[in-house]
Symmetry: C2
Subunit: 353 residues, 2 copies
């Protein structure tokens, strides 16, 4: 019995990609880059060569359960875990780990966000396998491993992992010195120049026993809540237990709650074309462009236009003329035209609207 599991965290609401992503259709279900597959589908397929389909768990909101099953029909309905409310990543991951505990005490687990981009899957598979190998060793049972991304620019939108100074080769497990919050530009430039900082990808690998120990040590109240449901997980009483106990969990991320406090924490410096595509700007960076540096998706005709994103849903046609550096997006009865450089204000405008 293969003991490798994958937890896909798919609870995001992704308001930054309005109007493409909205509460009723968040980013993980979109094919923003025009690859032909949604982010969540790509995430599933990316792990499928390593983890058998029956060992995936998707954690999401009940409202999205059917959508998840439409995007990943290989899953059985009970592989989609429904959070009654958003409680950040620590409770989300705990829920999935306790479900796994009901099935396989010696599981090895990869945890991944549902809505990130990876362009080099071959390299990705090497890294994930290296991670699984590492945490499967008997003396590494308590190791908590997060994948670190070799930075290519002084990005201020990501958290950073600090390594010990010295040689930290790509693809090799290194100990983590510490975590750094999203820096300002000056700090980000220092991180890049120093050479021993990585972007924190939010992809984790650990053994089930290792992460359960960490929950008991660093988030003991949360562990106690879930321990109280041990008899319910994997049974038809599970959802009832979750619905009545999940809200009791602290709203805290796995990074703050466990990784920053843990002792045996490791990373693998990696380069596999990763991006969280967290902004229109990062989408623009990773999308295919026409000769005038426009990233167009959908039936579009652009004229006298450069450095723009034009993104319209299927069934809609668009003509765009005379723009430079703009975002033009239409989905689900909502239209946005704005300067790409002002995308950080989208949320405010949506509220004004």
């Amino acid at each position: 019995m293969i003991n490798k599991y994958c937890i896909i965290m798919a609870g995001g609401i992704g308001s930054r990609f309005w109007p493409l992503s909205k509460n009723n259709y968040p980013k993980q279900f979109l094919d923003i880059l025009g690859t032909g597959k949604s982010f969540i589908r790509s995430t599933f397929e990316r792990f499928l060569p390593i983890v058998p389909a029956e060992n995936f768990l998707v954690v999401t909101n009940a409202a999205y359960k059917n959508t998840v099953l439409e995007h990943i029909p290989e899953l059985k309905p009970d592989q989609v875990l429904c959070e009654p409310m958003r409680r950040n990543t620590a409770p989300c991951i705990a829920y999935a780990c306790y479900r796994i505990l009901s099935q396989h005490q010696n599981a090895l687990i990869a945890v991944t966000p549902a809505d990130h981009l990876v362009t080099n899957e071959i390299e990705f598979h090497k890294i994930i396998k290296t991670g699984f190998d590492f945490v499967s060793k008997e003396n590494n049972q308590e190791a908590l491993l997060t994948i670190g991304i070799q930075p290519s620019r002084p990005e201020t939108g990501y958290g950073y992992i600090e390594l010990h100074e010295g040689d930290n080769p790509l693809g090799t497990v290194s100990a983590i010195q510490g975590f750094k919050e999203k820096p300002n530009l000056e700090r980000a430039k220092e991180f890049l120049a120093a050479g021993n900082y990585l972007w924190n990808s939010g992809i984790f690998i650990w053994s089930l026993q290792g992460i359960l120990k960490a929950y008991h040590k660093f988030l003991p109240e949360m562990a106690e809540i879930f321990d109280g449901g041990k008899q319910q997980f994997g049974t038809d009483q599970e959802q009832k237990f979750i619905d009545s106990h999940f809200a009791l969990c602290e709203n805290i991320s796995i990074d703050y709650g466990i990784m920053e406090r843990a002792e045996k924490r490791y990373t693998i410096p990696a380069e596999f074309g990763w991006s969280d595509i967290g902004t229109w700007g990062s989408l623009f960076t990773h999308a295919g462009k026409d000769n005038n540096n426009n990233a167009c998706k959908g039936k579009t005709y652009v004229h006298n236009t450069k450095n723009c994103i034009v993104n319209v849903e299927d069934g809609v046609e668009a003509i765009v003329e005379g723009l430079d550096g703009y975002l033009v997006a239409y989905r689900d009865h909502s239209l946005l035209v704005c300067q790409l450089s002002n995308e950080q204000h989208i949320k405010e405008w949506v509220e004004e609207l």
Copy 2:
């Protein structure tokens, strides 16, 4: 029995207002200005104080018959005349006049496009009544009258009516010296400075007998075609006759075919807030504006934006940021973003798309 009739010409396809107007929904059915009424509805209501509802005829394409009846439910279906194909205004008006002939030999007729704007209806009613009075006089039976609009700018998009030099007061019938095609800017400025030129509104008033005589004199072949159907007009054989004979008619406008050749032709210089709203620019001129000179229609939020048209259909919401002098329009799955100054290219772009 009231002998005043109104013919509304509603055969246009209005490709200049793409994406608002398309073949399946031309301009006359739109409420481009956000008045709460379509152009054709406003046209009907504008004449209703003068012409009883049962004396209206709308000439359109068969494809639009139901749409006309939705916009003007006061009409009976047989008041909507269906052209089998577009053949310009002379055959269109002839068809309606021969229908009227089957009902009322001594009718007085106003002819109007379906898709023009009039802002001062009180003044409009005075002018139309003056016109009806004029053509109702026994010695004016052959008079053909067209309403002329006092020009306010050197417009190059309209044809002009030349009056005899001298005093041609507003609201009073004057003889027409000649017609001028759409001028270039230099000529338009000369017309404006000369003072004896009016815009040709395309609104006509005449007696039925007067216009029938003119058809026989200046378009005798067309008159002969329609004379051949005299027994069919007003009967259930009418559509069959039209479907088999309309295509035989010359494709010619009433202006070229009759008005430019007629002897007893008159105009009334008028000022009643008229525009043909033939371009997005003229729509912009006549639409209400916000403090930043934006003409917005629909659920919109504009920010850091001025001198723009933002026009989205009901049920769609739009955010527009950082534009000056642009047109943003969405309707029926089609989006257009372009500089207002380049609107003359819209048709080309639609073909490229």
